[in-house]
Symmetry: C2
Subunit: 500 residues, 2 copies
């Protein structure tokens, strides 16, 4: 019977090769491509996507999977082969349910929706985007109709980003988390604000980029199996376990973002550089879910990169690099500055204390949209009401409100909550890590991240997609995803910073 598994692996291997080729073409499109190349690149990506899909949903794959599912039905849960079959069967089932004609239609609708969104945001005019969002929603309902009824229709969307996760679980977590964060933020905003003017001076781009490179080299990002380029948006992309690239950007008005986004992307990248090489070209390659991925990026960006021990090590070098900008700024002042909490309008610029509230707002609106409990035209008002309620700020226009994110225009409904779940997982893991690595803070204080990365490799990275996110988190921490460790982490950190 292993002949069947071998045959399946051959086919999935080719599908993986095509998907990685797509990743290379997309990376090039964002990093290098001259403007003229866009139209042909779209066609090339379309053709490769179609080929990968055709190959994957072939009847042969279906019957191989049927046989292999039976064969591995009683297999040890530790069996890699059983996990490969399980994950491939899951993906096959999803792919088979969604007809190619729908995929085409979705590509066309979202291409137009994206264009409309760009214009709507530029003009801060939601009415330009609204009819397109309505079409996107129609497609979302159609997509849901391809699947057997779930506990909640939104489950079907969520499952695409966070395998196995249920809407009810996320709601339970968020409902417990929301009041704790709102309360914390209230306490912070009533305290004396911290100083951060020194972060908004003019910083030299090249020096800042180089500093970021030094930091993630220390982290353990493997440059012999990766590279960093500039792009309009920071992202991580995987061409193989041995070629995992990241991008960064520089914004003059927010220079430090370069540094933190480099750390963030390196977290994603080290996850991808760390999965078991035996999983390459199988259904187990790459990270297991968006939330677990985000737990890695957020850990390196925030729990490490915005910690005091980290800056005890790096601040002298930063000060040496930028003596004028940081003249008279103490380590403590700097540390407080980069951790300043300020309820604000834009999710991607939000600090650790407020970020999750941006997510909760989006999740609630998405669920309402899927339940038909809200009309598209009412979204701006609902958005603004909740912003006021959660964060105490109200967008002056829709560009800074409901129009700020790209996701809906791409048809990505079900995605947002993974950002917040990732934050929670990062703190759960951090608790566990600090129990298992003695003196981690001292290691960080001396720029030594080896044991930390080793722990993540062993406990998270190497497993690839072998375990669903909730299983993985429970295996490692003893609990499914929960809000408590994150709330404790935030409370402790900000109590010290703001003297609560």
């Amino acid at each position: 019977m292993s002949q069947k598994l071998d045959r399946l692996k051959d086919i999935l291997g080719e599908v993986s090769d095509i998907n990685h080729a797509i990743a290379v073409l997309s990376w090039d499109q964002q990093v290098n491509m001259p403007p003229g190349g866009n139209e042909a690149r779209g066609r090339q990506l379309g053709t490769l996507g179609k080929l990968a899909q055709e190959k994957f949903i072939a009847d042969e794959v279906g019957s191989l999977l049927e046989d292999l599912k039976k064969e591995y039905a009683g297999a040890d849960s530790a069996s890699d082969d059983a996990a490969m079959v399980r994950v491939a069967a899951r993906n096959y089932d999803i792919a088979k349910r969604v007809p190619p004609s729908f995929v085409n239609e979705q590509a066309i609708v979202t291409a137009k929706a994206f264009e409309a969104w760009v214009e709507a945001r530029a003009k801060s005019d939601f009415s330009i985007f609204a009819p397109h969002l309505e079409k996107v929603l129609e497609l979302v309902h159609k997509y849901i109709s391809f699947f057997p009824p779930a506990d909640h229709p939104y489950d079907i969307l969520l499952d695409g980003y966070e395998p196995g996760m249920k809407t009810a679980e996320v709601r339970l977590i968020f409902d417990a988390l929301r009041p704790r964060q709102v309360e914390l933020i209230k306490a912070i905003t009533q305290s004396k604000p911290v100083k951060d003017d020194f972060l908004h001076k003019k910083y030299n781009e090249k020096k800042l980029l180089d500093f970021g490179v030094d930091v993630i080299t220390k982290f353990g990002y493997d440059w012999s199996r990766g590279r960093q380029d500039k792009a309009p948006h920071p992202f991580e992309t995987t061409f193989s376990v041995n070629d995992v690239r990241i991008t960064t950007r520089f914004e003059a008005e927010n220079p430090m973002a370069t540094l933190f986004s480099t750390m963030h992307e390196s977290g994603h990248a080290m996850y991808e550089q760390g999965f078991n090489p035996a999983y390459e070209r199988t259904s187990l390659e790459s990270g297991t879910s968006l939330a677990v991925h985000e737990s890695q990026s957020r850990m390196w960006e925030n729990l490490v990169g915005r910690s005091l021990p980290f800056w005890e090590y790096f601040f002298p070098a930063l000060k040496k690099t930028f003596p004028a900008q940081l003249d008279g700024v103490s380590l403590k002042t700097f540390y407080k500055g980069i951790n300043k909490v300020e309820p604000s309008l834009i999710r991607v610029n939000a600090d650790e204390a407020t970020y999750n509230l941006h997510i909760m707002l989006r999740l609630e609106l998405e669920i309402a949209m899927v339940e038909d409990g809200v009309k598209v035209k009412d979204l701006p008002e609902l958005w603004n009401t909740r912003m006021k309620e959660y964060l105490g700020v109200v967008p002056p226009n829709d560009a800074k409100g409901v129009l700020q994110d790209i996701h809906w225009s791409h048809g990505m409904i079900g995605y947002f909550s993974t950002y917040a779940l990732g934050n929670l997982v990062s703190a759960q893991l951090w608790d566990k890590i600090n129990k298992e690595i003695r003196g981690l803070d001292d290691q960080i204080r001396t720029g030594d991240f080896g044991e930390l990365l080793g722990w993540l490799r062993t406990n998270i990275h190497q497993h690839g997609q072998k375990y669903e996110p909730q299983t993985l988190v429970r295996n490692v921490t003893g609990s499914k995803i929960t809000h408590e460790p994150y709330v404790r982490y935030l409370t402790k950190k900000y109590s010290e910073i703001y003297g609560l």
Copy 2:
């Protein structure tokens, strides 16, 4: 019946998309890829290559082509559709004759041969490469056996690079050319040598690269549809008519090569940027043959870039950029320096007067190998004997002799003569251009290349692969490929420079 053509175009379009994806992955491999990525990239390229091949040699393509060949049998020779069918049928016939198992075997044998060649060249030990070259030759014979007997077995190889070209034609041309070049070189080497020490000083890499960029911008290379990167070897690659990229390199010991190779690659690139966009994703996209391609690169590199009018325009700027290096060097001295003739060992560094002789030597050895008229082990000696005869120099070792070129290790036998044919075509075209563009030298003297590029676009570039090389050259110049214009060009140029 146009339904059949539409269907064929759909399939060929997808094949073209895959092949362009392969080009992107190969470019990335040479320009960006971290060392770790190599193994996976090889697999990805292998999978895409197999997919493109499978799609192209599908029986459906065969029967579509059968029907369409009949339909277009009496078509006007100006018909694009008829040409598409003809070229596609030709490529299909070749692809069908070569079994996938052979393609696999060839990939394996040449991968090993390439490795052996790298080692053999490094150690200057032909015996390391010889057994691999023997295997490559076995494959070459096998490849030939897939085809019906030709006038000469080498025709079958040549045809893969230069459609329609015959071994007998090339021999006739080269036999006429050889004595004329040997004679000219003899006269030159007996003259007073020109000075070129100023070319071998230390030149700043960045400034030289920037100068190259300025030059090819003036030529008309369209940066909105292309880009230049550094790579270990200069090359041009096409992802679509609107995304045509080039690479360059800097060698400290031969700094000016950067400039001339940039011009060279821009010539290839402008050809590819200039084919009729309606030919995209069809069998007519891209240039028609290696020789015609080389005629474009050589024209911009040599007939333009090593001409006196060109430097009348650019020398003041170059001198301003490199005042120390060019201190006291006059335009005339500079012009003579960059055109210095010196019989030497390495083809890629050869000057215009000696280059073709390097090619003739290789062609003769390749034909002898294919005819079984020479044993692999005897190649080094034959090489050295001919070097002495044609160029009056003898390699001190095989690294600088028979081992210098990569081509044979890749199984590319039949390729070399296109380099020399390209030189000849460039001069034929140049004659014609100078009859049709009044005052071309004066235009070049003022840095105006617009009319020249326009002429090439109209007469050569736009046609893509519509005409076979000999037909194209005859249509444009009134004669098939011939040596006379090139000999006249060389003789005139070097008589002036060397006062012959």
